[in-house]
Amino acid sequence: MSKLDFNRRGLLRAGGALSVFGAAGPFVMQLAAAGVASAQTPSAYKALVCLYLYGGNDGHNTVLATDADSWGRYFATRNAGFDPIALMPVGTPPVPAGSISPVTGRVSVPISPEFWGGVLPITPSTPQPIPAGTNATTRTFALHPFMAPMQSLFNQGRLAIVANIGPMIQPITKAQYLAGTVPVPQSLFSHFDQQGAWQGGTLQASRVGWGGAMADLVLGANGANSVFTAIAPSGGSQPGGLSLYLAGQTARRYSISTGRVPADVIQAVQARALFKAPGGPGVLSGLIQNTGSTSAFANDYAPIVTRSINAAGLVNAAVAQGAAAQIPSAPNYVNPFTGYSIGNPVAQQLEAVARQVAAAGSLGLSRQVFFITLPAFDTHANQNSGQPDLLGQVAQGLAYFDSVLSNIGGVDYRGAVTTFTMSDFGRTFSINGSGTDHGWGSHAFVMGGAVKGGNIYGQYPTLGIDLGGFTNPDMAGNNLVPTTSVDQYAATLGTWFGVSPGDLATIFPNLQFFAPSTLGFL
């Protein structure tokens, strides 16, 4: 027996962890989990809420650089194609449908940028350094016209932006990327693989996400009801994409409905009789949780059923009382320019999260990790009719959540809950006719009372593709080469959450290559 084998077995015993990972599971996380479960004694409640934008949000039309040099290349490149996606300059009044825009000379329609008016200016509290290739004395910025609620949160100091972030193995320059001399994550530009890179980093090889890895560390502190440590509200009527984020070595994603009753109770188990057979419900309960099958598939199915049955009564009771029962309903999404109104899946999921936050005390939970999603950011075509309403849903959803958290049973929870965005990748700078294609670096948002908001962290890049003599040191072809690593972003969030530097080094083995290891937005 090697020394490592000995340690592993000892820790498994000490932690009481189930040895379900087999020989393939990395033992390092189990080491970390056992070490911290005893040392960490959170004194107050904290939660991390990941808002995952499935499909790859176009960051270039989300956070914009509006200084003349940057804007010139942005507008020239994106005011092209048969359905141009270039947004209008700051201060441009909306053009009513049917009228001609003085900016573009085109007729405005409700799904064209002319109809929405100018981008919304924001001013970071720390002036952004001017990157090589950008000819400006001051860099100025703006948000997409559908994001007014986030402009407001930014101005109030509870929303920060992290610029040009992406999955990386080591710091890398454009030249290194083009020469292939520095390793990059496998299958850049592939949805599935980059979802894995964002959600799991190097852990994805062992099917662990970094949210789950952080949940592993707090299971002990959460005590008897630790099943509620890592929660994903269902995104509506469809399964999500890859949701690796909440998978830990021991921690499991616990799924809830977005309705007022979070757990779907198995009726036939709760019934007094099954088709008039008085013993039927008991028989049913036994055979749907049986782990004595000869099939691994069956034995792997059973624990989900068991969690479903055991947790349902607890969680449904916990949210039916006290402040959790008073969480205001998520408002509909209203298109800010047409008034068109539909349900807001972001707000609906955040409403479900808010109920869990409010119920955490009664369940004895001190740390939670949540994962909510919004699909359809893969705007290859007709981006004008897709992305704006999605960004609007994000903005209105976050503003709703900020408001709800400000008063849960008379307590301001905004400082205890940090919400942040992730997405598969950024998108191409140039247009393909009416949309954009898969890219790499992009911009992310962090919201909360603990966030040092009103600022942009990381280097906002030079914009523009290599064209007509212009050479951009930050873009390889059409794609931003990231200057901030997902590992740094996650480590900043993790540090706030209470994860030690040693554990961060275990969860993010490549963090050592990036300086600083945390970004300062918390």
Binding site: S293, V305, N382
Partner: protein, 589 residues
Amino acid sequence: MSNDTRERLAPTGLATLATAAAVGGAAVKTFGGKPSAHATVASSVSASGAARFLTQASFGPNDLSIADVQSAGFAGWIAAQQALPLSGSHLDFVLQRTAAIKAQTPPGAVRPREFYESFWVQTVTGADQLRQRVKLALSEIFVISVTNGTVASYVDGTASYYDMLGQNAFGNYRTLIEQVTLHPMMGIYLSHLANVPANAATGQHPDENYAREILQLMSIGLYELNLDGSAKTDGGKPVPTYTHADIAGLAAVFTGFSWYSDNPIATGGTQTFFPPQKRGLSHEAKGPIKPMLAYPIYHQTTAKSFLGVTIPASASPDPQGDLKIALDTIFNHANVGPFIGKQLIQRLVTSNPSPDYVTRVATAFNDNGQGVRGDLGAVVKAVLLDPEARDDTVGVSQTFGKIREPVIRLANWARAFKASSNSGNWIIPTTSSPTSLYQTVLTAPSVFNFWTPGYSPPGTIINGLNLVAPEYQTLDEVSVAGYLNTMFSVLTSGFGSPPAGSTILDVQANYVAEIALAGNAVDLVARVNLLLMYGQMPAWLQTTIVNAVNAIALPNVSPPSALLTTALTQRVQTAIYLTFASLEYLVQR
């Protein structure tokens, strides 16, 4: 149309079409072992062997199909199935529903749910069961989804896409990939409809969406494969099949295709090239159901390089010629056989086929025995007749098999228990909610399907064994409860919505054959075991369910009354529900 009449269209000796009760009764007497074959059966296939085969090759066995397989043998049944004409047209169905709906409410229009109805009609009642099952499998590889609002707005197009998959189920992959590529619903879903060439002045580039996903998901995958489906490695790392440059080159091929028109117009105010939602133009009615047309002036003419092939720059655009080179190149890539073959095995038989199994199926793809590459009929046959698929001793294997897809579970019920639709339209709306089945045909959340072929659930035994369980990707605390509640409701009151003017759900089973056996719990459970678990229900589970059934006392009344029928029905409901609920059923082995 009833299940029975459609089934009888199958080319089977009528002699084997004994009455349902007789077949069931004769086949299920053995308790704790495999049921014996029906006495009149000529082939050596047992009833349980036939049922297990039909669990893989159809939407579930019933008395008639078990008899068919026993009569014809496995290969004979496949040959007969592959020779059957299509059992119906989804497009015709939704067009007729459109006409009926408009007649009732003039501005009315069909919605995706009318396509779902058509799915259930053919899935449950179609005599061409093998084609139906392969069609669903193909729809999870060549994915379009009505979660895309534009696709959803063309129910006729959606129906025609599903028809197209069925038409090609036993055809050649080369034809299938071309028809997939040119179908306007795929053109909308992966946005190569109205894709335009690069513009060097602005840096505008062709849409790369379809170019990427046709390679990653529909033909060759991310990594070079050996014939057995394993990835080729170089220095321990898998070897990528393509780079971003290949995607960019291939994207240029997929430019200049758009809506079909009898009179295509490329430019000007009446042009038919660009999508109508942007230009306010309406394409003609046939647009959503006819292959996209080439509009040469929108086709890129620069050199296009991909997968080791270069189409040189040309003075005049040749979209069809370039497309042929691209699809031939993809089709002839050595990965296609193992990549597509393994996924068909995963959809029909088992999540983790052995390398030898994949090799045999990929070999059939590469050459059907007559020198033809890409014969999907031969591939399907190889998948189902493989010794690994036909080994009935895997009932105790730890790793063989797969979690049954939720919609197939519901279809199992409808077929096994002779469900019929009162309206004839199988009014089953979406089952996509996690509190329902968490799956509806053609509603995957993305082109990556409901689940991906390589999904290995975190923290499971399967994961520890380095194996995959794709269908596990939609299992969670809500959806496992949703399934159990849905089936409880199905057994209690049927399924679907009530037709107008009725309060009874549209789809109702006929449990007459089961009720006839319900006086004897052992006989009843044996029949359910055959129909739902191909006679391989573990003995402990049989005992458990028999005891649960026997707990429902039969009233000692003479003559038999409604009271007795009620009790017998409750016994049947108990046996069937507990079987559907059991984890042993949920794993198809």
